[in-house]
Amino acid sequence: MTALQKKPENPIAHLSAEDIEIIGKELDTIRQEVRDSLGEDDAKYIRRVIDVQRKLELGSRAALLVSLFPPAWLIGTAGLSVAKILENMEIGHNILHGQWDWMRDPKIHSTTWEWDMASPAAQWKHSHNELHHTCTNVIGKDNDLGYGIMRVDEDQKWHPLYLAQPLWNFINACFFEYGIAAYDLELGKNLATKKRRANPEFRAATKQVLKKIRNQAGKDYLVHPLLSGPSFLPTLAANFTANVVRNLWSHSVIMCGHFPEGVETFEKTSIEGETRGEWYVRQMLGSANISGSKAMHLMTGNLSHQVEHHLFPDLPSNRYAEIAPKVKDIFDRYGLTYHSAPLYKQVASAWHKVIRLSLPNGWLAETTPKNAPAQIAKLVRMTTGGKKVRRAMARAA
């Protein structure tokens, strides 16, 4: 992946400035149509999802009270995993985007909602809604691209440390909610200097995160196991499993949103003075969808409609499916690629990219069974050699 502006064939070179503004207007019209038609059925939808999720969670936790009994463990763990996924994805993420603020129900509002997640809602809203959604896929500005710990672009200099990137990515996936919390705190940046560490704002935010983690972990790893009495350990294991399942699932879905091969990234300078039309086009090129059943869309919190979500982050998620054909039609008419594929393909594609970029530029593509020994030898030399060796070899490639 190379930032769009550096590509030999720019995928939007054929669009005039006028085209881009018309695309923007067409998308604005779609948005307005949905906004004008929001009503009772939409309100019923989100209330029903919340109702089902709460009952599923209650039922599952009740089953886990007797989780010494293996079938109860299985049912409870499966149910709790699904409940936690629904709570984070279709409910929490979307409410915190303000998708349901129009209902004016203080119980379902972006300013009052809190979720089952290590990162407090307020901090997540800042890093996600303000930073990621406005600077989507802009290298150096959108920290969602690799969360600041991964190499996400060929133009980023390769370093042997990146060889561990697939492992890193997997560990991050298992404990994703803590990764998000650390990322919302900008831990990497804020722990770097003494001055930043002492910043009262950072300290207050850290305190909030620790309190949130204490509450969430206390609930899953102490309170509910205690309530289970003799089933203490099975319940603890069940809650841990459900959290890991939820983390792996949400990490996969989110990776599919912006990371599959073919999704574009952008240079920092390219968004200076960006028009509304240009912003829309960047969102169109920077996102990828997951195709699948209604159940799949529900479980991904409709982030399977990542393209639609990025164009209209505050439209209710239950409406993305109906506008998807209209959005795709705009892509088709203006000769842009609408990325959409089944989950397994998108996950594989995203992982392929993680692995490819963990290696020096071009290494994976050039390697065949035949030249494998030579390639491995080259990789070893690049890994063990110093900066100079790497630079020389990269140039030679």
Binding site: R104, N215, G218
Partner: protein, 365 residues
């Protein structure tokens, strides 16, 4: 006489224990509250936010209906003449309105009722009169309002009402049979449009009240002078009036001129928008929202339309439930055109329900 040292009461440890149990349950449900789960089962239980369930919708006239509501356990009752605020979802959007209570306090089923007249283009009133179904759960506030009879009942009472202005008065007539000398002057377009027409005429037949109906489609409007002619002993009567603003102002003028202003009590349903002007940009720093508001729209309405959660109350400039600090800028009071300005740091408290932007405003919310 002996004195003993005060013994530690047994109540304290018990409260502490209850608190600890509650704390533990909160730990088990965090980040939600136990009440979020209890609401799934019993939204009307005691301790819950005050809500009610609509039990019946009884048509009164072609455009008015009485809504019978079973209030939640937290309902503290009301005095006849008071109103309640009802929050109901219309087309998925929570809307709050105030309506006068019309129910009989002695109802054995414990239900309360409000009577609503559908006004043209009235989002909520039309929904309540024509669409809402029994079983719907609505949000409620405790009863409020001072349009009530004093503890010492007047010997002679006069009620002057028009249209839906009869509703708080009906609440009083139903619950104060001890009033022996009552005159009711009520105006409505036709005989069929009189809300509670049958009940009022029966009360008149039974001799409980003297009823003067004015059907304005055929007989025109009554002015204060005409009322004085119809009720010769008007000056001796305590008077309660409820109806359109124009009518109330005419009455106030007449009563003041007669030197008996203190015997007239009035109730308004809507604020009188008198003065509008240029609007402006309103920013809500803490919510991170900025919007353009015109000079005729209350800031409360403009903010709610933008999806903001705003404190609100009577929506007519009386209860001060909507007050927020204006950090900087200027607002116009829609009732009298008065301009309120704030310099940075002032934090002038303004009533958002009757204030419109008069230039750029920065509101602390």
């Amino acid at each position: 006489m002996t004195t003993t040292d005060p013994r530690p009461t047994t109540a304290r440890p018990r409260v502490a224990l209850r608190d600890r149990v509650l704390k533990f349950v909160e730990f088990a449900t965090t980040p939600l509250l136990p009440s979020d789960y209890l609401d799934l089962v019993d939204p009307l239980r005691s301790g819950a936010d005050l809500r009610g369930r609509i039990e019946a919708v009884l048509p009164e006239t072609r455009d008015a209906a009485t809504i019978v509501i079973r209030p939640g356990r937290g309902w503290r009752g009301h005095r006849p003449g008071q109103y309640i605020r009802i929050g109901i979802d219309v087309d998925g959007v929570r809307q709050w309105r105030a309506y006068s209570l019309t129910s009989d306090l002695t109802r054995i089923d414990g239900c309360i009722s409000v009577t609503v007249k559908a006004i043209p283009d009235g989002k909520v009133s039309n929904h309540l009169v024509r669409k809402v179904r029994p079983g719907t759960v609505v949000q409620l506030d405790q009863a409020a309002g001072e349009f009530c009879l004093p503890a010492e009942r007047p010997e002679k009472a006069l009620f002057i009402t028009a249209g839906s202005g009869i509703t708080p008065v009906m609440g009083m007539l139903r619950n104060h049979p001890e009033l022996t000398d009552v005159v009711l002057v009520h105006s409505a377009p036709t005989a069929d449009d009189v809300v509670f027409g049958a009940d009022l005429r029966r009360m008149a037949d039974e001799g409980r009240i003297r009823l003067i109906e004015q059907h304005t489609d055929t007989a025109g409007m009554l002015d204060a002078g005409a009322i004085a002619e119809l009720v010769p002993d008007l000056a001796e009567r305590s008077t309660w009036a409820c109806g359109p603003v124009g009518m109330l102002e005419a009455l106030e003028e007449h009563w003041t001129a007669a030197g008996i202003a203190e015997r007239l009590y009035t109730e308004r349903f809507r604020p009188t928008v008198l003065v509008t002007g240029e609007g402006g940009t309103v920013s809500f720093a803490r919510s991170g929202t900025t919007l353009e508001a015109d000079g005729a729209t209350p800031i409360l309405d403009a903010a709610e339309d933008a999806g903001l959660l705003m404190p609100s109350g009577c929506r007519m400039g009386i209860c001060y439930g909507c007050v927020l600090p204006l950090r900087e800028g200027a607002v116009r009071d829609l009732r009298n055109g008065e301009i309120t300005t704030a310099a940075p740091g002032d934090g002038v408290l303004i009533q958002t329900c009757v204030s419109a932007a008069a230039g750029a405003c920065d509101i602390d919310h």
